[in-house]
Symmetry: C3
Subunit: 274 residues, 3 copies
Amino acid sequence: MFKKILENVIAKTPLVHNITNYVTVNDCANIILACGGSPIMADDISEVEEITSICNSLVINIGTLNERTINAMIIAGKKANSLGHPVILDPVGAGASSLRTETVFRLIKEVKFSVVRGNISEIKAVYSGTSSTKGVDANIADIVTEKNIDEVVSFSKTLSERTGAVIAITGALDIVTDLNKTYIIKNGHSMMGKITGAGCMLTSLIGAFCGANCDNLLDATAAAVCSMGICGELAYKKVLKTEGGTSSFRTSLIDYMSKFNYDVLKEEMKIESR
Amino acid sequence: MFKKILENVIAKTPLVHNITNYVTVNDCANIILACGGSPIMADDISEVEEITSICNSLVINIGTLNERTINAMIIAGKKANSLGHPVILDPVGAGASSLRTETVFRLIKEVKFSVVRGNISEIKAVYSGTSSTKGVDANIADIVTEKNIDEVVSFSKTLSERTGAVIAITGALDIVTDLNKTYIIKNGHSMMGKITGAGCMLTSLIGAFCGANCDNLLDATAAAVCSMGICGELAYKKVLKTEGGTSSFRTSLIDYMSKFNYDVLKEEMKIESR
Amino acid sequence: MFKKILENVIAKTPLVHNITNYVTVNDCANIILACGGSPIMADDISEVEEITSICNSLVINIGTLNERTINAMIIAGKKANSLGHPVILDPVGAGASSLRTETVFRLIKEVKFSVVRGNISEIKAVYSGTSSTKGVDANIADIVTEKNIDEVVSFSKTLSERTGAVIAITGALDIVTDLNKTYIIKNGHSMMGKITGAGCMLTSLIGAFCGANCDNLLDATAAAVCSMGICGELAYKKVLKTEGGTSSFRTSLIDYMSKFNYDVLKEEMKIESR
């Protein structure tokens, strides 16, 4: 499973246009390079259409949105739509401010997204417009568990139907779903929540995987989620061995992505479909 | 000493709103996560009041200030004041340009700061409006030594009286003072001056410590300064052992903060009070 | 060769003003510190003249240009020219959008550059205005080899004559030339292309080397290119030994720069002049 997905990323060197935040942008660029893609970051209104045209996919991340970049996101998103490029949304902190929640609604109204990835609190905010988002981290009251997973899958499918996008909710348990099929993924490590950018990096990675696999966005997204989770597990083992901490964990996470291949994926993947 | 300060950081997971520069923002986010807090970076005028409202403290860092973000700083600062949240100022490069010096004066006039942290040249610029600031690093002529420390403590106390803020001057010798009590701290390592962001990270760390200890800002600030210095010392030892350099020093510094606890603090702290 | 160049960097602690992109800005600051310089990042129109006045050189990098920062680049560039400071241009992604290509032409028209450094596709775009630039990475069709090197040197010399700048084209083979003399450098490692920022870091490093060696810009640029390449080679060896990947490669690259000295340069330099 997902063998062809990974092969395509390597074979096609997808060029990924990122309009993203200035907190984790360097990690996003490095994870795209690590997986075999090529990143370009450009957010000025007068060039985003041209830049997105030479790319294979577009990632929109609202982590440090402002008036200038919101307009650039919409213009770039429409252009990517007109070209049939996958467009990925990371609604960072949706629910934490009206600006974020309203921008997400405006984006979803004006741009057709291929994938929306967030933590459970962010996706709930996208779904309902109200939220218990605590900053940019998921509210503990929202955490997905074996007990509430059916409910979460159900509203994710509704959101997928409403938006036409693959919905990816990541946390201790990851859900990747479209209207017809759902993957539940159990890879990853809790230390991913102790560094900034694990979520943003995953969204950019999904951008690369989808850019190289336009005809199979659900599997491309699920493969990216599994790959990231496995790299997190491997990085944690390395941190233990080298007596590191959260920052060397981040380094190792990207390191493992730069050495990732199908054999590792096949061996370590913890995924089921429904 | 400071046991309760550290316990509160862990127990409360302080949410820290940062309006900061794009050079070291990633390190600031990671150090806040490492110590047990949760960072959020947001600088658009239309959301800073809402974002700061859900947080426990606000950090204002003028490292790459511009007209747009200066206004956001003031609006957010006033809101944080009205809510009684600690507000921390890092006057990066004060004295290096009129824009920086005047912005600091404007900020101090319009916002009540809980803590102001800078290097000696920056704090002198805040104190006197004139400065020998050499870029963003302290001018060697200003360096705090055993010889001039009484003089520096004296003007710091005056500045504390004038602003109502705890004043933290960091360098080879660190001074943390309010009107009544002064801590002199000798932790730290000179390699902290060979990476960008050691100062910015400390300011964000103070944001987290104060966010969890609103009723004891002097001790919270001193505990943050000690903790950062100790992590610098430990990181330097690791760099020697692993034959690293300045970049792996930065990684180790954050690593040690992610494993920091009261036992380490008690063992390694070099602090005296006056 | 280049002994005096390195000595001057250490002796003078050049202060480098960077107007650069938010993707790799942290790496740029850290590499300047690592080599012995001091970085300052400032891009607001109302302070760039003052900031550049206290510095020894100015680096302009268009990686995430926007209307606001383009104006700051021109104002700062003119000021640096009037003071006789070296000004270095990194035309990131020139050829990938009209905004980038036109901005480069506007910059070259209004500011006299001391050095222009880019990959082959970017420099071709600067030379001809048209380009096969693929995002921010060089197009494989453009790669400099032993076969086409004479042709590349020839157009680089023409560009040097036209602009008055030292031209540095970096890739598997590096070319550093002015109208009279050309260096061909074979240091470096292909993993430098698998991290973001290797090019940007080199440009900032050139800023530090030129800031300390205003009277010998060609040699200062060539020495920086060699030094960066050698650190890349050493970093790759460390990555192999520690079973790392691209992110620990980046860390090691900066580490080696922080420990670099003339003995290493003399031993490892692969350079010829024509």
